[in-house]
């Protein structure tokens, strides 16, 4: 027997075919690329239909090639080869500017049409007072027993949230919208920058930096009307996007001398885009007849594809996202903390475990049925409201949030927990001070990805009776809401016509994909930084 095998092996020895291996390898690569290339081609098609770059003047293309594409490529390529940190700094500045501008656009929709800035202000003050009150009580934690502290904290929170906002709203004078944004959002940016500067350069410079931020936001808000932007959106764009990005650039310029050159890269990209636009405008070159244009983003639905817009759906998606985040983040992280840090290894825990992985596999229509049956039919809520839609989508993404948060919590080294227990910390103190801060970037990554999934979902919203076509923005949690994918479905399915297929739907798809892809890339960048950090 043994000799038989031996002789066979020896006969075949040395006859290894390289061709098979090479062929196999390329076959695998081709299969890997199949889906990616196919999606890429489809994306090109839809982008071509939506933006129609070929309708632009050749001069327009030439202008942008010379002012924007070539300089960016040249500077970027040089830095990529010679000075990688500078390239990264420049790239992340441009990315941060793009993403934060989009975020500012969303925030502008919220503050202009949904939430009165004064209401926002009163609740911000209420929450701030509640937070300060609780902090003050916590400070005295050694002298007062826990139950007293707990009741006092609840009382403070209740008073600040129930009484303070109403008092503020009823005040005889009203603050102007843009000033409210400058105080609240700009204040956060100022505090963050001030804290950073305080640590590296001391209190005097920190006050200067924080004051500078507030002044810059106010100045930009006042300068808005000069370029045709209302002060309120201008203040939002300044406070959410321009000022923070510029502060980041400034801090990087001072603190990272080696990467400082990266600012040039960012300046070339941004400046090139503006220069190109200015030159094309002066020379009278017509840009592409894009369907994704200002009127598409700010109009409501219309029977004719050329006039149809996405505005109510964008606002609806934003409100849904806020609701879903507010519901699923605490619940999902709470469940993950319980399963990783508290749960005893018994049958019930294993049941929850299996149950969560099965819930992740339940089709989204079934979650829609759950929302329809429980929230609408049994709880008697109105169909298709922000609250019902948000709750349904939260249940849908909860398993995903839990699973990814568990992974993030599990990656916190066991030694850190043991060290914390060794210092005499209780379990909650360990969770609060060691586990959660350490796992936070991972939890955020998972939550952002899950939110992306929620934004792209259509079926559950149809099931709970959200209107396919909404003509106005939802203004409160109980008003009917549409969403971007739902609007796209309505155009592709209910208004099916060649006109909509070629104009409104591609434009809607491009907007939806730009939002989703930028969310995904934020999550991926966050994850990469976090993995580098570990």
């Amino acid at each position: 027997m043994a000799t038989d095998t031996d002789s066979r092996v020896i006969e075949g020895f040395g006859q290894v075919s390289r061709t098979v291996g090479t062929l196999f390898r390329y076959l695998l690569l081709a299969s890997t690329l199949f889906g990616i290339v196919m999606l890429g081609v489809l994306l090109l098609y839809v982008a071509n239909d939506a933006i129609q770059p070929l309708t632009a003047d050749p001069g327009w293309h030439l202008t942008f090639l010379c002012t924007f594409v070539l300089p960016s490529l040249a500077v970027g390529g040089y830095l990529y080869r010679r000075n990688r940190p500078a390239f990264r700094l420049g790239g992340s500045l441009v990315g941060a500017l793009a993403v934060s501008l989009m975020f500012a656009g969303g925030a502008s929709i919220v503050f202009v049409d949904i939430l009165d800035p004064m209401v926002w202000f009163s609740y911000v003050v209420g929450f701030a007072l509640a937070g300060l009150g609780v902090l003050a009580i916590e400070r005295r934690s050694h002298s007062i027993p826990f139950s007293v502290r707990f009741v006092a904290a609840i009382a403070v929170v209740g008073v600040s949230l129930l009484v303070v906002p109403n008092l503020l709203i009823d005040l005889p004078y009203a603050l102007i919208g843009w000033a409210v944004i400058a105080y609240t959002v700009g204040g956060v940016v100022a505090a963050a920058l001030g804290r950073y500067v305080y640590r590296s350069r001391g209190p005097r410079k920190a006050i200067v930096a924080a004051g500078g931020v507030l002044l810059a936001v106010a100045a930009l808000a006042l300068a808005g009307p000069l370029v045709g932007v209302d002060p309120l959106p201008a203040s939002i764009v300044a406070a959410v996007s321009l000022v923070p990005v510029c502060s980041y650039a400034g801090v990087a310029a001072f603190d990272r001398p080696k990467a400082r050159v990266g600012l040039v890269f960012a300046a070339v990209v941004v400046g090139g885009a503006f220069l190109g636009a200015a030159v094309a405008d002066l020379a009278g070159f017509a840009g592409p007849e894009s369907w994704v244009n200002w009127s598409f983003l700010t109009n409501a639905h219309s029977g004719t594809a050329a006039d149809a817009g996405l505005y109510p759906a964008i606002g609806g998606s934003i409100l849904l996202m806020v609701t879903v985040a507010a519901l699923s983040f605490p619940l999902g992280v709470g469940a993950a903390v319980y399963l990783e840090e508290y749960a005893p290894d018994n049958r019930f825990t294993r049941f929850i475990d299996i149950n969560i992985s099965n819930l992740a596999g339940v089709p989204s229509v079934v979650y829609g049925l759950l929302g329809l049956g429980v929230f609408v039919t049994y709880a008697g809520r109105a169909m298709g409201t922000v609250l019902v839609g948000g709750a349904t989508l939260s249940l849908l993404i909860l398993p995903i949030v839990i699973i990814s948060s568990r992974e993030a919590i599990r990656s916190v080294p066991e030694e850190m927990r043991q060290a914390s227990y060794g210092m005499g910390a209780t379990r909650w103190q360990t969770v609060k001070n060691v586990v959660l801060p350490r796992a936070f970037p991972g939890i955020m990554t998972g939550t952002i990805l899950a939110l992306g999934r929620a934004i792209g979902e259509t079926a559950p919203l149809i099931m709970i009776g959200a209107p396919n076509v909404a003509f106005s923005l939802p203004t409160e949690l109980t008003s009917k809401v549409s969403a971007m994918p739902l609007q796209v479905y309505a155009w592709a399915g209910l208004f099916a016509s060649e006109e909509f297929y070629r104009q409104a739907v591609p434009a809607g798809v491009v907007v939806l994909l730009v939002v989703l892809l930028s969310m995904n890339s934020v999550a991926i960048v966050l994850r990469n930084r976090y993995e580098d950090g570990n």
Binding site: F13, V20, G21, F24, L28, L29, T32, F34, G35, I36, L39, L42, V46, F146, F150, L331, G334, A335, V337, Y338, E341, Y342, I352, N355, N358, G361, V362, P363, S364, V365, V366, L369, V374, L398, P399, I402, T426, R427, W428, V431, L449, G452, G456, E457, T458, A459, I462, M463, V488, Y489, A492, G493, L494, V505, V509, L512, L513, L516, L517, N520
Partner: protein, 332 residues
Amino acid sequence: MSTDDINDDLTRRTENAPQELLTRAFFFLCAALSVVTTVSIVVLLVTEAAKFFSITAPLMDVTGATASLVDFLTGTNWIINNEQFGVLALVSVTVLITFGSAVIALPLGVATAIYLSEYASSRARGVLKPALEVLAGVPTVVYGFFALVYITPALEVFLPSIGTFNLLSASIVVGVMIIPMVASISEDAMSAVPEDLRQAGYGMGATKFDVSTGIVVPAALSGIFSSFILALSRAIGETMAVTIAAGAQARFLNPIGVGRIAGIPVPYPDLSVYLEGGLPMTAAMVNLLTGDITGGGLAYRSLFAIGLVLFVITLVMNIISDIVAQRYREEY
């Protein structure tokens, strides 16, 4: 004994301090919410479906129109206005689309997993894995639009008889959509195969091809199968892409044609059904709600009956996938 006394003096039991109990209770409630969700899904689907069937409706104190359970499970006509509820018309289309997407996604997914785990450099992996994540992250309504507006016209060049709404384009996009799922779970299973096994293979003079196909894939087989089942269950539950691409006309599609060779009937797979449109289960549910149904009526309850069938199928598949992954896992 004496050390215990000292311990009691020095330590305070913090496990039952009010703060600890409170936080612990909150976290427990969060985790228990998932159980509540499952229970409410099951209870809701079962009670509403029970009101739908004439056998169980009296138990639920429901009067009015009901449907026969036997007709529901064996009927092949789904015509709501005639109160004909034969779920097989919907199931046949769902099965066809799932099969079609499996033909695309399973081989490609496994090949992707082998490439990523065995062949790709870490740099290539760094590019390919996020790209695959994008594939899974594109909303399904967008895939449906792609199938209807770009893929079907492209297919029409080769298959002139294809309908505007057809199962083929729906299968293709659903297949592309589930590739990342097959790939990522299979790749995890392949990466878990210990390096020693591979090195042993190389030591025996095996080529990389031999090691990949002869050692890694068999060792990871349980993970690969569980990824297949999960991906298929995802394909069954897929909604918007098939709603847009496959059409809205409910009919029973029979993929088994009967030919005659010398007068003897011989069954053969009739692939021409893929060129026609049909109404899968999920799309039927969406159509029921986009049309105007009266709350509480028979059509409304049929929604939950389909939902129950869908839920049971996907749940069983998920559980099978779990069992396969657990029981047949090679322990190293």
